[in-house]
């Protein structure tokens, strides 16, 4: 009897155990399904839109800011300005119109608005330029010896001189003089034989650059100190390098002598606007040589706004070739 009871009790326990085990197993599997479902659901409904907008804003900003120097350079050169504010206003307008065009392109694609504006006052430089290729480098009254600028510090200075217009002797050579009194550093440009041009610098020691202008044009980047003869704008080859006015501290006077013996173009950009230009045109009809103003550094604010995102950044840009 006793052993029969024991056997019966053990069998009872095993049946319940099986049932409980099955139920636990079932609950575990169902829970696993629910958990996995939640993971997949979360993965698939994650909101990525905000990140996309941020990437868009950054891309628009990169594009816009990257184009600013090219826009300002063109605004500086495409017109002549009688005052600092005229130059700054022209850049302001150019950037605003550009911003409107880019903004329209973006707005047509997605609900976003783009704004481009100059922040604060841009830095303006004084420019003395000559772009009449048939006229020599004399001043407005055709004086061959004249002061181009006084109290100046050169930022960028480029000349393109027609080699045929140059004198063949040292004495008659076109001269550029730099110094507090105008002659501490002198550069002479004259022909040397039929197909070569000498660029001499006299600054205590003195040295000469000889270039062979194949196409008849000597290109001088005076401030960077390079002379080259390749007028092809796509491939600039440098023939020789030199230092501009070593030992002459700004502000200085920059003048020309024998200016009848040089024809071509030049563009002289100074640091700031405190220098005084010589006898040049300062109002319409802007005949060469003339004085103008150019923006050489500015801060640009780019705004990008969508319903979820408001992006605004101000970047400072310096114009390499104002």
């Amino acid at each position: 009897m006793v052993s029969d009871r024991v056997r019966r009790t053990a069998s009872d326990d095993r049946g319940q155990l099986l049932l409980v085990g099955a139920v636990v197993l079932a609950i575990a599997i169902v829970s696993l399904v629910v958990i996995l479902n939640t993971v997949l659901y979360t993965q698939n409904v994650t909101n990525r839109a905000a990140l996309d907008s941020t990437a868009d804003a950054a891309e628009i900003e990169r594009t816009v800011v990257g184009e600013v120097p090219a826009l300002v350079e063109r605004a500086n050169r495409n017109a002549t300005y009688g005052s600092e504010t005229a130059a700054a206003d022209a850049v302001d307008r150019t950037l605003a119109r550009y911003g409107a065009l880019v903004g329209t392109a973006v707005t047509n694609r997605r609900p976003a608005s783009v704004g481009v504006a100059v922040a604060g006052d841009p830095s303006v430089a004084l420019v003395v330029a000559h772009d009449n290729v048939t006229r020599n480098f004399t001043d407005r009254d055709r004086d061959p010896e004249w002061t181009v600028v006084d109290g100046a510090s050169v930022q960028r200075y480029r000349l393109r001189i027609d080699a045929d217009s140059l004198a063949s002797t040292d004495a008659d050579a076109f001269r550029m003089t730099v110094g507090p009194d105008g002659d501490d550093w002198t550069m002479r440009v004259h022909r040397n034989g039929s197909d070569r041009v000498d660029v001499d610098r006299v600054d205590g020691g003195g040295s000469t650059c000889t270039v062979s202008p194949d196409d008849g044009t000597v290109e001088l980047d005076v401030e960077n100190g390079t002379a080259d003869v390749d007028a092809d704008r796509d491939s600039v080859g440098v023939d020789c390098t030199f230092a501009f006015a070593p030992g002459v501290d700004p502000p200085y006077r920059l003048g020309y002598a024998n200016a009848t013996n040089a024809t071509g173009t030049y563009r002289l950009v100074l640091d700031g606007t405190s220098a005084t230009a010589g006898d040049v045109d300062t109002s319409a009809p802007w005949e060469s040589p003339y004085r103008s103003y150019a923006v050489d550094a500015l801060a640009v604010t780019v705004t990008y706004a969508t319903p979820e995102l408001d992006y605004r950044t101000t970047t400072n840009r310096t114009i390499a070739d104002p």
């Binding site: 069998s11 319940q16 099986l18 698939n44 605004a75 119109r97 550009y98 065009l101 392109a105």
Partner: protein, 216 residues
């Protein structure tokens, strides 16, 4: 008697237990997860990755001005992109800016190469467009097809990159040797020659073109 009753009870418990276990297993197996990809569409992450690739391809091409060269690779007399099939298909199945005759100058041929390396080599197809502002109504967008390979699928992703065309930008197609006659301002002023976009800005900007790629 008692032993017989127990046997039936065990059998019933076993049956009920197995029913519970089997029901749970069947439920687990039948629980189909509905995701956005269930209908056969491309996974969000794959699309995001593709979009990044397309974006990067355009950014790389824009880095050294090749996208601007592409936008300017226009034959002003044929009124198509230089060496393209026509204005409807653009370059069609060939990569954009493919060289024409031997020795032809194709400054943007590497854009085609880049798109081939990044997209075509992975089995993706793409359409490439240039969107620009209408000259007389700048709020309107007009489109020129550079490469058209058909209607994109529902899974297509888009990337764009804006390039500025200036009045003094020169056409990069090998058609015209005269440097100054190739500026957009000169082409725009010449009634016999044609550029797809017009001058939409009174300042130094000619137009703002957006190079748009649709990949699927």
């Amino acid at each position: 008697m008692v032993g017989d009753d127990r046997g039936q009870a065990f059998a019933l418990e076993g049956v009920v237990g197995s029913i519970v276990v089997l029901t749970a297993v069947v439920f687990a197996l039948e629980a189909v997860v509905l995701t956005p990809t269930t209908a056969g569409t491309v996974d969000q992450d794959v699309k995001a990755q593709l979009r990044v690739e397309a974006d990067d391809a355009l950014a790389v091409a824009a880095e050294d001005d090749r996208l601007r060269s592409l936008a300017l690779y226009w034959n002003a007399s044929d009124r198509t992109f230089a060496h393209a099939d026509d204005r409807v298909r653009g370059y069609g199945s060939t990569p954009p800016c493919t060289d024409g005759p031997p020795g032809a100058d194709a400054p943007c041929a590497s854009v085609g190469q880049l798109l081939n390396d990044t997209l075509s080599s992975q089995g993706y197809e793409y359409n490439l467009y240039v969107d620009y502002r209408n000259a007389s109504a700048p709020h309107r967008t007009e489109t020129e097809r550079v490469v058209y390979r058909g209607v994109p699928s529902d899974n297509a992703v888009t990337a764009t990159h804006a390039v500025v065309l200036y009045d003094d930008s020169r056409l990069t197609s090998p058609e015209d040797a005269d440097e100054d006659a190739r500026t957009l301002a000169a082409v725009d002023a010449d009634a016999d020659r044609h550029f797809y976009a017009g001058d939409a800005d009174p300042g130094p900007v000619f137009n703002v073109a957006e190079v748009r790629i649709v990949v699927w």
